[in-house]
Symmetry: C2
Subunit: 432 residues, 2 copies
């Protein structure tokens, strides 16, 4: 006989046991339901793509994190590392089959060979949603509104969406002749939540000089409310422009739909070196802000530029499902279920198994998830199975009950028994 292979899993990869996978599916279904309710449609793309298509001709920093290899046909291929690049490629490839405005969502696994020490995974699930076509305040707002509605649908109440605008930030840099130092400034500002204003200033000073560093720190500081922040920024960029007007429109829409309480104009949000050109946002859970943003994104006005000369404006957002689930778990907002069954039909007598299957069908037709115990074992074992799996009801039907056309129901939570009752009454008990 061959020796046993140790059933090990790669570092950074995970098995999902039923309690974890049940949770994931519940959350995914809630999100999909919300997105579809907003008129967003699903797409899917391959896990594996041509390496140069995913990484561009250069490669660069992401390269080392990417799972890339030669396939059996000698092609250079790579596992996708996000859903944004494949979406850009998808848009260019199918431009003629899609009607704009195009609203899509995509929930799928991505892979990155990241350092796993910080509790990061090498395989994780992204959940992206985007609107391609309109460059309008209402498109920006729809994404924010859908983020808001998704959080509510998941039962999260205590969250805040930090919003800013890269166009205003760029206008500020331009207004102060700082455009050349763009990258250094963005990198520094991006760190403010982690290292604080003083440390950011220390990084900025050699680049911009002390006075300008103070000006930048003033710029990225939020005032007490949206209007005041907007007013200050408008002054600092030399007056109204299309970007400041966009932020005004956004606030108007948020107020009119009653969600402005959940939004916070925070000029320090820049999303680092990413490709955003307009509004940007991050979502924090107020009870555990330290885990970082659970839903982030923004507007990028040339989404598919790598693959087509047509300019396709887009606005979108991405939920890191793993981080969100970890957060909801920490907040004790997720139940742990070993089973989805509502009732276990015990095996009292193997010769009644056909009858049990027929009863199970009738229960399932009423959408009552029903499990059958498929072996002849001691009743004690069967009950203990139901309890381990937290199945709330047991249906017991032996030879006598079968002859009488009745069943016994035991509520395993309250320990109440209901003996010799009709099947319809049993259904009502189980449904209640």
């Amino acid at each position: 006989m061959a020796s046993i292979i140790e059933p090990r899993v790669l570092k950074g990869f995970r098995d999902f046991l039923p309690p974890a996978e049940i949770k994931r599916k519940e959350i995914q279904r809630i999100l999909e339901g919300t997105f579809e309710n907003f008129g967003f449609v699903p797409i899917d793309t391959p896990a594996l793509e041509y390496r140069d298509v995913l990484l561009g001709k250069g490669g660069g920093e992401t390269d080392k994190q990417v799972y890339a290899f030669q396939d059996n046909g000698g092609r250079d291929v790579s596992l996708r590392f996000d859903l944004t690049v494949p979406f850009a490629r998808f848009l260019a490839a199918h431009r003629n089959e899609l009607y704009l405005p195009f609203k899509r969502y995509h929930i799928a696994k991505v892979w990155r060979g990241e350092n796993t020490q910080k509790g990061r995974y090498r395989e994780f699930t992204q959940c992206d949603f985007d609107i391609v076509g309109p460059d309008s305040a209402s498109a920006d707002f729809e994404i924010i509104f859908m983020m808001y509605t998704s959080m509510k649908a998941l039962g999260v109440e205590n969250f805040i969406i930090h919003i800013s605008h890269r166009g205003i930030f760029n206008a500020f840099l331009e207004h102060n002749d700082l455009k050349g130092a763009n990258v250094e400034i963005l990198r520094a500002v991006d760190k403010i939540a982690k290292i604080g204003a003083d440390e950011v200033k220390k990084i900025l000073e050699p680049v911009t000089g002390g006075e300008m560093a103070d000006k930048i720190l003033d710029f990225i500081k939020a005032e007490t409310n949206w209007q005041d922040t907007l007013k200050k920024l408008t002054e600092l960029v030399g007056g109204e422009n299309e970007h400041t007007l966009r932020m005004e429109s956004l606030f108007k829409l948020a107020t009119e739909t009653g969600i402005s309480e959940a939004l916070y104009f925070d000029p320090s949000i820049t999303r680092g070196l990413d490709y955003y050109t307009g509004v940007v946002y991050e979502t924090f859970l107020k009870d555990i802000p330290r885990i970082g943003s659970v839903c982030s994104g923004g507007r990028y006005n040339n989404l598919a530029g790598l693959y087509t000369k047509e300019e396709l404006p887009g606005v979108g957002s991405s939920i890191g499902l793993d981080r969100l689930i970890a957060a909801l778990e920490e907040l004790d907002m997720l139940s742990t279920k070993e089973s989805l069954s509502r009732v276990l039909i015990l095996n009292m007598d193997d010769s009644l198994m056909g009858y049990y299957f027929s009863m199970a069908s009738k229960l399932r037709e009423k959408n009552i998830s029903t499990e059958l115990y498929l072996e002849k074992k001691k009743l004690k074992n069967q009950f203990s199975f139901a309890e381990k799996k937290n199945i709330p009801f047991a249906l017991i039907c032996g030879e006598d009950e079968y002859k009488n056309g009745t069943v016994n129901i035991k509520n395993l939570t309250t320990r109440e028994s209901f003996n010799n009752i009709g099947f319809d009454e049993a259904i009502k008990l189980i449904q209640a």
Copy 2:
């Protein structure tokens, strides 16, 4: 500016545009609903695993089809090529966390570097469900019953499940001192649907001699009904044994639950060289039998033998989702939807956008999927968008209707208009 990269996709891989992905999700949700109604729970495993864990220490025939490579850490890894091997590994790894009987389903992508010429894909979706623990007729039957119920839930009526038993086949070979020629005989018999009895005989004759070849062909020929086939086979294996009794129990259960019409005892079903030890089955759509089985599986009594010394009996089945969808498409059983939206709120006036968003929320609270047109465009364009996406209703609300607290509804299918009606009435119209 960098040159444009052609947005190409690897051969054998596919993008799923909304109409295709909507269908896939619908089918997946129906299947998940059915499985969960039977008390099956979901699991997930990594797409990428250690190569030796997936392929065993040898490798062999599957090897060439497998996407295998070295990761950045120098580990030999491979993309999963089915869901059975990862499940066996999963069982061994988590044996102490699982309660038997364990009923799980797993729907996920798998990858094989197969020849794509026959319309085969290199990335496709498997849908597996198994019961681990009991070796009983009722466990075998539950899988068959769930296959049956799944087909019905998908709206498929005209299907037949061919069932056989590898234990009876093996007993027949043993009874005739043919155990040594096991592999050649299985390979030959497996071809009968494709090449016919005469050709199979030609392959068998040199191995078994002519008389025995006839005997084998007689053995694998079904009689007019289950009982007669079982009777013949029982005689040909030298009398009743646990396997013939199992087939008798299965037929009893099928009869008692009223599904025996959909089952066909077909001794020519062997599932080739696979690891099955008990019941085996394949499912054919009677209207397009040539596409082959859409749902196949069987019993294997030492599922996780590669990874643990504990014998774990299992019975399960697998739906090839891509093949099933192709079949349902060919049977015109799937609708093509560009959109899931029930109503499009037209943009009559940008200043009313907040009001539109609020109306959309109210519709969505009633689970009416609602899309907003996010740009100020000509009405003609907005209507044409709704029609291209097959959205059945348009909601029109300009300055006047806003002031009156009314809306106009246009049914885009019947072309009827309902003007200046209250919002509650509009909801009823759209829901109807």
